[in-house]
Subunit: 339 residues, 2 copies
DNA sequence: TTGAAAGCGATACCAT
DNA sequence: ATGGTATCGCTTTCAA
């Protein structure tokens, strides 16, 4: 592999000049620039990014931590980030945190040790304090789907409360008045916010909330099944169900079908996230779109702007969710009621 | 950040000795080792991986190219690779190739420019020749899901022919004799191999293949719908359908339902890949398991063994698929036949 | 506009 | 077992 030395020799200029050409410095005459470029071309020169990093103290790499690499959610996010970064010539180093504190910290330290210029984090288990402390260090971080007031400018979030509101309002507008709710783990802020939106819609429509029609799951589909059983076993009547995410909705639908319910006629269901699978389950799931790909993109832009000085970029910190109407929620029809 | 200089000063030893301690060289006395470790601890020393890379000419990073970061397939693979690599302290740089030649080449060059120690490639559009030429360079490559005879030792593949055979045999064993087939793009070797397996099973059971019951899709679900329509419109009777992948099976099922077919009673269907979504679609899809996560792991192991000298690792180049029985394929029952 | 030279923070060879 | 030192390939003052 050719080095900068050979280029400088062939072009008959100094190292410094070659370096200037590579970095598009304006302080180099057109004639020398041409000479140097020709020499590079002739030698098939490619700068050694490691040496560049060492000398410039910037690695041109951004570290990403997600909970899992697989699964229906993170892929979209990674995709958005990778796109944006590669277009800017930055590379992306990825680690998984498995929603487990020790593992998340381990992942973050791993990324730090690879001298990333910035970190994009989707963490769940690690404490606010840890993140605040981390942000005080010299390595910039941006948080996806986590809001910490002290770090507000570094957070890219979804308006979960609005999403919860939209989901429930849709059912109320369709005439439903007996609604059940399957929540996510209520210690997670997104689960809490979505439920708050639900309550706001209920209040707006003057519908009383029945605590017996509330069940708390863990965002996995198995918990959706479990919660659905619990709700059905309660013997209480309900004509609609809102689930705090699509995976639990999938589990709930599965169970409802096993119990012989006719969907959506006997029970309307709405989910949250708009995963790909929402289109595959039957009936197709009405849900709330979570633009996670866009949010990943935005996180990458945050880094480009704040770390790599791309001043023209415009940032947006909070995203608004939107209702996606499919088949699983329909007008309340008393004729079909059995429960 | 503390450097090796400060450690050597504080510990009262030379640079070389500190380096030896970091690299677990046996040529260091226990007492000095302890001294050095203490100094590191005290300074909170973390080696600068970039400097290490420059000096050692190894970046400890492996480049991965997949078609897409999102989608139901690559996540599993990335997950397997990341796991294995991180455990070995190697990091993973990821790029997407979008199943498009220019983009794949661009991605590969991007990874090369980041001085990876090896590349793990899941490429579709790039030619065999390109890959053979690439492999002749000094940067080692591993191919997932692509078999090139000249590069056999670098290929991690699935026995697609066997998978195709198993899928079809399952239906034949259940008594079906009128089988339709929705293939992937026949220029892709996996699509071709799966179909070859289908033909072998048909031959084994002495069932004549009706070319009118063959349709070629593109592995996307929309093409599954299209092919299904085409097959139904042909007016020919068939009691079972094998799809060359799960996504097309999902599309086919969707269309079958719209046409009022009762599944699986009137039509048995088997897919291929065992995506997560196979469990979510209704009826739950009988399919062929594609252990892509394991294969990703194995690709990572290949790199650990061949590039990072972890001699004890055992490699395996071809994986065997297995049948996963769910609800979408059932015994042929003439009573339900309408088509 | 161009060049000389001092780092960047490690590794690894050669001595001792 | 330990130390001295050249080296990796580039960036970045500082002078000219």
């Amino acid at each position: 592999m050719a080095t900068i030395y050979q280029v400088s020799e062939l072009a008959g200029v100094s190292l410094a000049t070659v370096s200037r050409v590579m970095n598009n410095s304006p302080r180099v005459s057109d004639t020398t620039r041409t000479k140097v470029l020709a020499a590079m071309e002739q030698l098939g020169y490619r700068p050694n990014s490691i040496a560049q990093s060492l000398a410039s103290n910037r690695s041109n790499s951004v570290g990403i931590l997600v909970s899992e690499l697989h699964g229906p959610f993170y892929g979209e996010m990674l995709s958005g980030i990778e796109n944006e970064c590669r277009a800017a010539g930055k590379h992306v180093i990825i680690a998984a945190g498995h929603s487990e504190e020790a593992s998340e910290i381990d992942g973050i330290e791993f990324l730090i040790s690879r001298s990333c210029d910035a970190l994009i984090l989707h963490v769940e288990a690690v404490s606010d304090d840890y993140l605040i402390k981390l942000a005080e260090g010299k390595l910039p971080i941006v948080l996806i789907n986590r809001y910490i007031p002290q770090l507000a400018a570094n957070c890219i979030c979804l308006n979960n409360e609005l999403g919860g509101y939209l989901a429930t309002r849709q059912l109320l507008q369709q005439g439903h008045r007996q609604l059940a709710y399957i929540a996510g783990p209520m210690w997670k802020s997104d689960a809490k916010d979505r439920y708050a939106g639900h309550l706001r819609a209920m209040a707006e429509y003057g519908v009383k909330v029945n605590p017996a029609l509330f069940a708390e799951g863990d965002f996995q589909d198995s918990s959706g099944s479990r919660c659905m059983q619990q709700l059905l076993d309660s013997g209480l009547a309900f004509t609609a169900l809102v689930c705090a995410n699509d995976e639990m909705a999938a589990g709930a639908i599965e169970t409802a079908r096993q119990r012989g319910l006719n969907l959506p006629q006997q029970l309307s269901i709405v989910g949250f996230d708009n995963l790909i699978l929402a289109r595959y389950i039957h009936p197709k799931l009405t849900t709330i779109d979570y633009p996670i790909g866009e949010m990943g993109r935005m996180a990458a832009r945050w880094v480009l702007k704040n770390i790599y000085q791309q001043q023209t970029i415009r940032l947006k910190n909070v995203f608004e969710p939107a209702l996606i109407c499919r088949e699983s929620a329909c007008h309340f029809d008393a004729a079909n009621q059995t429960a």
